[in-house]
Structures are given as structure tokens and as C-alpha cells.
């Protein structure tokens, strides 16, 4: 516990931000490289980063709105769906790539003297930045569906910040254990596909039976998704108290994740 309070200890809350700040040029260079190379060699390039949510959108609209008539619960089902789907795809991708970041960055860790904390942070930042770049396209589609941008969008940077912190905390733990047990990455992929159905993305919160509302209430990812839906679809500011709780949880998770990471990072080079 004392360790948490000593500024020079790597277990201290300020350690991770300090490392990132000291290596900010490197972090940015790597994020830039990831974004530049992500779609290189593909003809449609950046298009693919929103092609996937749009294809899913088409299928979900057909199944849930047309076949199952779930759309009647929401005014503008395609717009509602897309408002939650874009952020979810970003979250899901960054959890997966973050979990693999240390294993995939084996070269950096086994061949150079490298602050390994940088790797998960870089992958998450790359995915979040990629998401930010797709936001104009999301807004364009929403406008085509007659949901126009509003002042509520000003809350976007704040939601993104909470999003980044929450995912970073979780990924620090997952990436660490994935070095020792590569099963974690597979597990994460499957858990994420289940989590998707526990989130009010393809259905509105209103259809959840009262007895099961806790699945959304106590789920920080659901809170994040709802915040995104608030600003994109409902054109209102997010629930600040709710977002505040998620932010607090995220900070606790980062503190915990950083402890797990620091405890094991010295032996990463031997297991990669």
C-alpha cells in the first residue's frame, strides 16, 4: 500500500501517465505508423473502417427492425443502432488488439530496451483515433437518417477520455496474463461477442425486463455505449453522474491493471 504513494514507484498512479508523457513522441510515431499501415495495400483503404459497421447495420436492420419488428420500440431504428454500433466496434477492437499487444510486440521487448507499457497504450490510442476519424462519417449517415448533429456532441472528447481510461485499465490486466497464457486472447474474443448482446445496442434499454435491468446498470461498457447514444442519437448530454462513476471505476482499474503489469513486466522478455 505504501508503494502506491511513493512517486518514484512504478505502482504509483502517476507512473503510467509520466511514462507516456516522457515517451510521447515515440507513442505518437507508433500510433501514426499503425494508422498509416492499417489499410495500406487495400484498394478501399480507410473505407473498411466503417464498411464493417455499415454491413452489420444492414443485417441488423433487416433482422430486428423488419423481421422482428423491434424497431417500433425506437423512433429511428437504423440511427439508434448505428449510434451504439460504431463505438462498440471500436471498444471491441481495442480490447482485442490491446490484449495481444505485448505478445505481438515481442520484437520490441526481446530485442530492445523498451518501456513495455507503451505497447497496449499505443494499440488502444490507435483504435480510438481511428474511431474519431470515422465520427464524421457516422454523423453523415445520421444526417442522412435525419438525425442531425447537436451541441451535445461537445461532450464527445470527455466520453472518449473515459472510454480510453476504462479500456486501458482492463487491457493492462488482459495483456499481462496473455503473455503467460495465450488462451486469454481467444477467451476475450468469445466473451466480447457475448457482451455485445448484453448491451443495449441492437435493442433499446426499455425492452429489458425490470429484473434484468442491473445488467445494464452495473455494466460500465453499457454506460459508455448509452453515453454515446445520448450524444449521437438522442441529441442530449450524457448522464454525468453515470459517466463519473465509470471514470472512477476506470481509474481504479488502471491502478489495479498497472500493479499487475508492473509485477510481471520484468519477465515478459523470457516468455515471449
Amino acid at each position: 500500500m505504501i508503494k502506491l504513494l511513493q512517486p518514484q514507484s512504478p505502482y504509483w498512479l502517476g507512473y503510467l501517465p509520466a511514462v507516456i508523457w516522457r515517451h510521447k513522441a515515440l507513442v505518437w510515431t507508433l500510433v501514426e505508423r499503425n494508422l498509416k499501415t492499417r489499410y495500406k495495400g487495400s484498394i478501399l483503404g480507410f473505407f473498411w473502417s466503417f464498411a464493417n459497421p455499415l454491413l452489420l447495420l444492414g443485417i441488423y436492420v433487416l433482422v430486428f427492425s423488419y423481421y422482428l419488428r423491434l424497431g417500433n420500440e425506437v423512433g429511428n431504428y437504423p440511427a439508434f443502432l448505428i449510434s451504439g454500433l460504431f463505438p462498440w466496434i471500436c471498444i471491441s477492437l481495442s480490447v482485442q488488439s490491446g490484449t495481444n499487444s505485448i505478445v505481438e510486440g515481442a520484437g520490441y521487448i526481446t530485442q530492445t530496451v523498451f518501456k513495455s507499457e507503451i505497447l497496449p497504450i499505443v494499440t488502444i490510442l490507435s483504435d480510438v483515433t481511428n474511431f474519431v476519424l470515422t465520427v464524421p462519417i457516422l454523423l453523415l449517415f445520421l444526417s442522412l437518417l435525419k438525425v442531425y448533429p447537436s451541441a451535445a456532441l461537445l461532450a464527445l472528447p470527455l466520453i472518449l477520455a473515459v472510454h480510453f481510461l476504462l479500456i486501458s485499465g482492463a487491457v493492462l490486466v488482459l495483456a499481462t496474463y496473455n503473455v503467460f497464457f495465450r488462451d486469454i486472447a481467444y477467451l476475450v474474443t468469445h466473451v466480447l461477442s457475448l457482451v455485445f448482446f448484453a448491451l443495449p445496442i441492437i435493442y433499446p434499454q426499455g425492452v429489458i425486463p425490470a429484473g434484468l435491468r442491473f445488467t445494464v446498470k452495473w455494466n460500465p461498457i453499457a454506460r459508455l455505449i448509452i453515453s454515446y447514444q445520448d450524444i449521437f442519437y438522442f441529441r442530449r448530454s450524457p448522464d454525468w453522474t453515470s459517466l463519473g462513476w465509470v471514470a472512477l471505476l476506470a481509474v481504479v482499474l488502471i491502478l489495479l491493471g498497472n500493479c499487475v503489469f508492473q509485477r510481471h513486466k520484468d519477465v515478459f522478455a523470457e516468455y515471449l
Binding site: 510515431t29 520490441y108 521487448i109 526481446t110 530485442q111 530492445t112 530496451v113 496474463y177 503467460f180 522478455a269
Partner: protein, 256 residues
């Protein structure tokens, strides 16, 4: 003045089979048990055992020995990639290792972009890179290809680019692992010239090699490792002769 001091350094690795047997559940529920298993000597492989030496500043030292004798492990300990299990290692001065040759290279990026990515991973700032960039390109001899994606490079060109970045770092201590055999004859000549410049500039060089002739001609001193132990340390020609007599010409001792 010493550049590197090693005192009774030992490094052990967990044997591969024991890593596989550890269950995920075990690790989560009983982290203590995992640590105790890791400390069991029967499940460990001693990569380096009680290694001690001092390398004075400005000296070129070679490390030779059969495969698996611990040469690369020693370099990784000195460079800080691995932590020693016991003993003490001190390094005085800025250190650069050619272990990180081409780390972070992306095939789709151009030579120029990769110079910046790799250079920053190796610890240079963007500004430093901008100033050494012309000399990196000059050294690599890849002027006309520098704006082409690295995937279009031949493997020789790839290594030349990586090597050129690494030698531009101007460290006080240089760790080289089997790199004198890089590129064509012309590039090798350049590398040798650069090494001579380093030596003249009073830099410390630590060189791992299997090329006994170049080890003998290049180094002022040789360390011979055998199964993780220091088998000899001293005058290059004597150490090479000892190595050949003791480990290479003996049929019962596995040599490479």
C-alpha cells in the same frame, strides 16, 4: 575506468515443459504456488553461472563459444532486456545494442518512414534523427530506394538499412551480436571502417561472433563461454587456440 562490470552474475530460465503445465486456474488462485514452482532448481536451466569480468572503457572485447553457451543471454543482461537472478551488473555510459536491428520495421512503410520509427524505438529523438538522417541514408547506400516501401527491398537491403540506423546512434558502448556478416563485400568493408572509427573514438565494443578469425583480428580480449560458465578470458590468440583444442577438436564434446 570501467565500462562494464559483472560480478557473479547468474541467469536461470524456466524449462519449457514446466511453463506449459501451469494451469490458468492455478495462477489465478495460487500465485504463491506458481512462484515456488518457478524457484525449484530441478525445473530450471542455468543459462549463465557466476560470470564475473570487468571491461575497461575503449576496449573491444569478443565473446565466443558454442551455440547455447549463453553469449546472447549475456548481451541481453548487459543491455537490460533480461534481469540477472543474482550477482551485479553495472554499465557506465550510453549503451546501444544491435540486437534491435530493424525492430518496428513495417513492410508497407518507406525506408525513410522506417528510419524514423526504428530510430525512435532505439531511443533517438525526432530532432536527433533529422540531423543523422542524411548520414544514415549515405551509409546504407539506398538513396534511390529510400522512398519505396521496405517490402520491395531485398533481404540484404533490409539489413543494410537496419544496420545503418543502429550504427548512427553514437553510443559509448556498442553491443554487437553476429552482425559483421551483414550485406555484400562492399557494405562489410564500410561496416569495418565504422567499427574502426568507433575504436579510434575510444568507444567500448562488445562483440558476439562465431567467426574466430575476425574475433582474433578485431578484439583486444576474448571471453569464452561454455555451457553458461566462463571458460576462458584473455589474449585473443590464446583463447581461440584453447577453444579449438578444448571444444572443437574433441569428439565427445558437442561443438557446432
Amino acid at each position: 575506468m570501467d565500462a562494464i562490470i559483472a560480478e557473479h552474475v547468474s541467469k536461470r530460465f524456466r524449462k519449457y515443459s514446466t511453463r506449459q503445465r501451469v494451469a490458468l486456474k492455478e495462477a489465478i488462485l495460487h500465485p504463491g504456488r506458481l512462484r515456488r514452482a518457478a524457484a525449484d532448481p530441478a525445473l530450471q536451466l542455468t543459462a549463465l553461472h557466476d560470470i564475473s569480468f570487468r571491461i575497461p572503457k575503449g576496449v573491444t572485447v569478443g565473446i565466443i563459444g558454442p551455440n547455447g553457451s549463453g553469449k546472447t543471454t549475456l548481451l541481453k543482461l548487459i543491455s537490460g532486456i533480461y534481469r540477472a537472478d543474482s550477482g551485479r551488473l553495472q554499465v557506465f555510459g550510453k549503451l546501444s545494442s544491435l540486437l534491435g536491428l530493424g525492430v518496428g520495421f513495417h513492410p508497407e512503410l518507406t525506408g525513410r518512414e522506417n528510419i524514423f520509427v526504428n530510430g525512435m524505438i532505439l531511443g533517438l529523438t525526432r530532432r536527433e534523427l533529422q540531423s543523422v538522417y542524411p548520414s544514415i541514408v549515405e551509409f546504407s547506400g539506398l538513396h534511390e530506394f529510400i522512398d519505396a516501401p521496405v517490402r520491395t527491398y531485398s533481404s540484404g537491403m533490409h539489413v543494410r538499412l537496419a544496420f545503418s540506423i543502429a550504427v548512427s546512434l553514437s553510443p559509448d558502448i556498442m553491443l554487437l551480436d553476429e552482425v559483421l556478416a551483414v550485406g555484400d563485400a562492399d557494405f562489410q568493408k564500410k561496416c569495418r571502417q565504422r567499427m574502426e572509427e568507433f575504436q579510434r573514438a575510444g568507444k567500448t565494443i562488445l562483440l558476439v561472433t562465431h567467426d574466430l578469425a575476425s574475433a582474433e583480428s578485431w578484439c583486444e580480449r576474448l571471453l569464452l563461454l561454455h555451457r553458461g560458465r566462463m571458460a576462458a578470458d584473455g589474449n585473443p590468440s590464446e583463447v581461440v587456440r584453447y577453444y579449438l583444442e578444448r571444444f572443437v577438436n574433441q569428439p565427445d564434446v558437442p561443438a557446432e
